[in-house]
Every structure is written in C-alpha cells, then in structure tokens.
Amino acid sequence: MDLLDPLLLARWQFGLTTLYHFIFVPLTLGMGLVVAIFQTAWYRTGRVKWLHLTRLFGKIFLINFAMGVVTGIVQEFQFGMNWSDYSRFVGDVFGAPLAFEGLMAFFLEATFLGLWIFGWDRLPKGAHLATIWIAWAGASLSAFIILAANAWMQNPVGYKMAPDGSRAELVDFWAVLTNPVALATFPHTMFAAFMFAAAVVIATAAWHLARRQNIEMMRSALRFGMWGMIVAFVGVFFAGDQLAIVMVETQPMKMAAAEALYQSACGANASFSLFTLGTPDGSSELFSVRVPYLLALLSTHTLNGCVEGINDLNAQYIQQWPQFADKLGGDLPFSPIIWVTYWSFRWMMGLGGLAALISVVGLWLTRKNAKREVPQWAWKVAIWSAPLPLLASLVGWVFTEMGRQPWIVFGLMLTQNGVSPNVPGWQVLVSLLAFTAIYAALAVVEIGLVIRTVRKGPDPLPPPGDGSDDESDRELADVPTTVY
C-alpha cells in the first residue's frame, strides 16, 4: 500500500473531517430545537425554570456553534482542494444546491444565531424568541439542501451528460430537490439529531438529579428528554424504513452489502443476521443469529420478496459498465468493503435502539407513583449513554458513504476518478495530519468545556434591572447577555 497515495489520503481526510463536522450538526439541529422549545415555554408560562434551562443548554449550544461554522468551511473548500476532477464533473449540478444553501439558509442561520446569543438585552422578548426559531429553521433548511446534494451522489437525477461526456449538466433542479433519497434521508437525519440532543438533555438532568441539585427544573428536563428521545426514535425508525425501501430501488448493492448477502435470496431465505462470527465476506460462517424473512420485509415490505445478492448485482454491473469494471479490476469490482457496511449498519441500529430503550426504562423508573427511588446506577447509565445516538449517526454515515463505493456518483463517476490529479500525496498527508492534530486538540478542549458547563448547572439570575445597561429598555428581558 502506498502511504502517499493521494486518493487514499484524500478519502481518509474527507471521512475524518466530515464525521468530525457532523458532531456539531446534530447539536445545532437538535439542540437548537430543544433550546427554542424551552425558551418558548418560558415565554408562554413565565416560569423561571424554563429560562434556566434555556440558558444552560444555550451555553452548550454556544460552545459548539463556532466549531460548527469553522469546520463547515473545511467541508466546502475540500471539494475543490482534494476532489477537483469531481468538482469539474459535477459542479453544474452539485454546486447549485450548495449555492442555494448559502444564499437561503446559511446566512439566515448564522445571522440570527448571533442575534440570539448576543441579543438578550438588545431585543424585545418576543423578537428574541423569534431569532432562535428563525436560526433553527435556517439550519433545518440548510440540512435539507445539503442532504439533497448528497442524495444526488447516491442517486443522480435531473441531469443529462454533456455531449462530449465531460460533465453532468443540470436539467431539472426540482427533481434534484425532490430526489426520493433526499426525501427519506432528511427526516431520518433530523430525527437522529433530535435523539442526540435528547440524550444530552437526559445526561445533564441525570447528573444533577443524582446529586439532588436543581431538582424541579432537572426533573422537567429529564421527562422532556426521555419523551423526546422516544418520539425521535419512532421518527428515525419509520424514516429509516422508508430509506431502506428507496435504497433497494436505487442502490440495491448497498442493501446487499449491508447484509453481506452474496447470493440472491427470497422469502424465508432472505434472513437478517443479527450477529455473525467468522468472516462476513461469505467464505466461511462459524456462527450467526438469523431472523428469517426480515431482510425481505426490510427491503420490499413483503414477506416473500426477493433481495438481489452481491454476486448477481456485480455481474449485472459489469455488463452495464464494462469501462468502469476494467478500471476497477478484481473479481467483485462493484462491491463495497463488506465488513465495513455489514457492521456499520448493525452498529447504527443497535446503538440507536439502545439509546431509545434506556429512555423507556428511565420513564418507568421515574414514573409518578414509583415506589422506590431511582438507583444510582441508573443515573450513571443515563449519563454515560449520552454519546450513543451520536455514534449511531456517525456509523450511519460511514455505512451510507462506504456503501456507495466504488462510486463517487453512483453509476456516473468512480471515486478514484474524482481526486485532484495535480495535488501531490505529501500535501494531502500534511493537511490530513494538520486537521487530525487540530481537531483532536479541539475535541479535548470542547468536551472539557461542555462537561464543565453541564456540571456547573444553571447560572443564578441577577435581581431584575441589573441585566441591562439601559434602564429605559423596559420591555427587554432582564437577563444578562452573553459577553465574550
């Protein structure tokens, strides 16, 4: 293996920086909504516990927000820096959603987030509340458009090839926005983000309740978090189910790779393995737990449906794209790395399901007429399970992107043909190492700050009138604004 292979390094860099960026995405999407709901509750009821919760989770939101912005710039620059041939090939189609996202959504989100963070003593209460909702709406719109761009790589629609074959050209922007993959991915991603935000709320509340601090507000936060987690899980589940159906239609190879299904199978034989010991490349299987019919149900919504296997699909693709098959070489040129897709698919579902299960147990333990107190171990579980939904989202992305390989745009362009031809391997290596080092250092600082904020809990509010330096602003919230 060539350690200075630009393709390999560029792929690692994209994977690393994108997953890292995605830590902050669900915090913006999910935590933004949580904060907006808490603040709305305060606005409507005037109860101070909601204000405390708004401020506390707003602080966690703030710590992450700078990281979200700056790691996002890396994402956009990276297409041109490491993937210039990809950019040349898809720019006419893929660039448009990015531009729309910037003009419509990203400006909106960044501007109104700034207004929310610093506007506590500058805006009337209602207007200030509106800023967080607008910022959240901007973030959600932004998520949709970016997912539509990604969906185009999974399932290219609304384009035609240029007469000389040099690039894909946009012919129907609406088709790009209503790509069935995008329509299923968006709710799946959004609900997953809500799950992570709920998990952070639950962990924070559990930390304080285990120490018998701030009991009333943290009890409200805990119930809110656990119910939110369950509702979000139901959403993730049904959206994911829909996504699987669309995936079987558009990228059957990805579904086959998710199950490591080499031979096509129907009905009871289309079983879903919960766990496999041995080599999941199909050569030998030592032990596995299988649920018959489940794969057929998952893929086709019928018990007797058939699922195509990797071998059949591969043979079919070699017929369809002989020129790409020659370039890729090997026996199974069109197969992704099976152990990656197989295990990432299971970890995604397992971690997400576990997070939801913990909330169900938590609701039982904290029910109104519970006879015994919540045991300390249960609080510990609630605290330590905070990262579960995030990890589920991250392995979910590993699955969806690795499952698309060897394509960068399914059926149109191979990943190996997208990389910048003129950037030497050592430069990609330098940038990979630099990003890894900086991102790792920042993660340490970031996690330390979040934990500190959680432990410190809500700030005491100053007596009314002290928050604003302008006594004439009577209608403003008596809350001190953020100051760097």
């Binding site: 710039i73 041939d85 960044a110 922007f173 920042l442 760097y484």
Partner: protein, 343 residues
C-alpha cells in the same frame, strides 16, 4: 447579456462582501497586541465583533459555494492549485473562530493569553494570504492543458503576490482599527485613533505601489476594462486618503465607512483587471480559464440568478438590521460589569 458575465460580478460582489466584512474582523483581531493593554480592554476589542464575526465569515462560504456552482472549472483549478495557501487559511480560520468562543469560558491568564495569540495569528495569516491569492489570480499562474495548476506554494510568493498580501494585511488592519475606534470608548478608543493614523499611512504606501503595478499589468495584458480599472483604483486611493483625514478629524464613522469604500474598490479594481478571464495561464494563454470556458450551463445560471435576486437583498436587509441592533459602543464599564456578574 450572457448570464455567465452577470455571475462573474455576483461572485465578485460576494468576495467584496467577504473582504469588507471579515477584513475588518481580521484587523480587529490583529490589533489585540497593540490596543489590548489589559484583559478588560482585550475583551472590549473582541466584543466589538462578538455578535457579527460569524455572519461576516459566512460570506466566504457563500462566495465559495457560488463560485463552485457558477464556475466549477474556476473553483476546481483555484482550490486544488492554491492547496497549501488555502490549507493555511482554513487552519487559521478554525483557530481564530474557536478562540473567540473559548477564551472567555475560563478565568486564568494563561488560558486567555493562549487564545489571544491564536486570534492574532488566525487573523493575520488569512489577511495576508487572501491578498496573495487574489493578486496571483489576476496576474495569472502556470496551468496545463487540463486547467490544472502546475506550480507550488513558492510560485504564489512572487513579488506582485507578496505585495498584494502586504496590501490586504495593512488595509484590513487599518480598517479593523477604525472599527475598534468607532465601537469602543476610553483608553482603547484613544489608542485606536492614534494607531489608525500610523497604519493608515503605511497602508497608503503599500496600496499605491500595488495599484500602480496592477494598472501597469492590466495595460500590459491589454485588459478590455482598463478605464474601469483606473477609475476603481482612483476611488480606492482617494477613499483611503479620505479615511485617514476623517480619522485625524475624529470622524470615526466616516473613517470606517471610507475604509470600507477602499476595500470595495480595491477588490473591484482587481475584478475589472481580471475580466474576461477568471484564471489566466502564464504558460500558454490557451490553457487559461475565462468566463466563457469555466462557467456552468445557462439553465443552472438562470435558477441561481433567481435565487440571488430574491435572497441577496434579504440577506443585506437582515444583516444590516443586525448591525443596527448592535450599534452601541462596547464600553469599558459594560465589560467590567459583565466580569463582575460572572464572578
């Protein structure tokens, strides 16, 4: 008119917006070692851009995205070609952005000074490198038949590129110091006014040399918009002189406004000099990228034009409103009060 030409100027407008807005952010960041004598004054300086630095930085993302969508070839050639320069800019922007957020999270001088240093470096590096990058785009770089850049980082560090970098560094610095003077009171404000006069004069020297060189290059290359290049250059120079005079006369709003006019017309001058190319080649002119051969299809440009037409005015409106909301000076007493509440 061909929409690609319109988009050449829309992308230009977005980069103008970015350099005007994040430019003074960089200047504010770079001014810390000169104006921030104690922690309160450093916080005063940082808080002048607290609520707006992120929306200012958003402009580079939108400018980059529109460049990608409207001119995929230009985007691909530029970003893969200027790889290490852009990498340095990215790393600097990351360190700077998080430093704003992190420095106030903990007390302790060591913690805060560490992030102060990162703010200064994170502001100076992009302020310099953006100038180097834009100067090299206008001057031309070695490209092969596939429009791929064949030089290295050292190719970019030629005399004209370095002068461009020095000019933006000084210009952004001065513009930022005008902003600090406009938005603070007390010692910081007084120091900023004195500093702006000195840095303004230094900027004038560098800018004059850069302008003359740019015009000479444009004449040599037979730039079709040469009249506009000269007009924009003159306006930029006059605005810079005007800003220095306004600063001397204690008219801070005028000084800052004219500083912005300087940045706008300096970028416009470069854009006019570039037209109708987007990335001229110094090896074989036929390898160069032009508005015509780098742009997207008319269909893509049409829908993007609608988006820009509808959303850009809205963006300007709500961002302008944001600046209005945060129009008050960041007073020393306000920071002291906030510091007292926190502890």
């Amino acid at each position: 008119m061909d929409l690609a030409y319109l988009w050449f100027f829309i992308v230009g407008f977005l980069f103008v917006g970015y350099f005007v807005l994040d430019g003074f952010d960089f200047g504010v960041g770079m001014s810390l070692p000169f104006l921030g004598k104690d922690d309160i004054s450093r916080r005063q300086i940082i808080n002048t851009i607290g609520p707006v630095w992120d929306l200012n930085e958003t402009w580079v993302i939108v400018a980059g995205a529109c460049l990608f969508a409207a001119f995929p070839e230009w985007y691909a050639t530029l970003f893969s070609g200027f790889y290490l320069a852009l990498l340095l800019i990215l790393l600097a922007l990351i360190l700077r952005g998080v430093s704003f957020e992190y420095r106030h999270q903990r007390e302790g001088l060591k913690w805060k000074r560490g992030f102060d240093r990162m703010i200064v470096i994170g502001s100076a590096v992009p302020a310099f490198l953006w100038g180097v990058a834009v100067a090299n785009i206008v001057q031309g770089v070695p490209l092969d038949a596939d429009h791929n850049f064949t030089g290295t980082l050292l190719t970019l560090l030629n005399p004209y590129g370095l002068l461009g970098g020095l000019t933006t560094l000084l210009l952004f610095f001065t513009h930022g110091v005008y902003f600090v003077a406009l938005k603070t009171d007390g010692q910081v404000h007084d120091d900023a006014r004195r500093l702006a006069t000195r840095s303004g004069l230094a900027t004038l020297v560098a800018a004059a040399a850069f302008i003359v060189w740019t015009i000479a290059n444009a004449i040599g290359a037979g730039a079709p918009l040469i009249t506009l290049v000269v007009v924009a250059a003159l306006i930029a120079a006059l605005a810079l002189v005007g800003s220095i005079v306004a600063n001397l006369r204690n008219r801070e709003g005028w000084a800052f406004g004219l500083g912005a006019v300087t940045v706008v017309f300096a970028v416009l001058m470069l854009w006019f000099a570039l037209f109708p190319n987007v990335m001229p080649s110094t090896t074989d002119p036929a390898h160069g990228l032009t508005i015509a051969n780098a742009s997207s299809t008319p269909y893509t440009l049409t829908i993007m034009s609608w988006a820009a037409l509808i959303f850009l005015p809205l963006v300007l409106l709500y961002q302008g409103w944001t600046y209005w909301v945060f129009r008050k000076r960041v007073s020393r007493s306000r920071i002291e009060q906030a510091a007292a509440v926190a502890h």
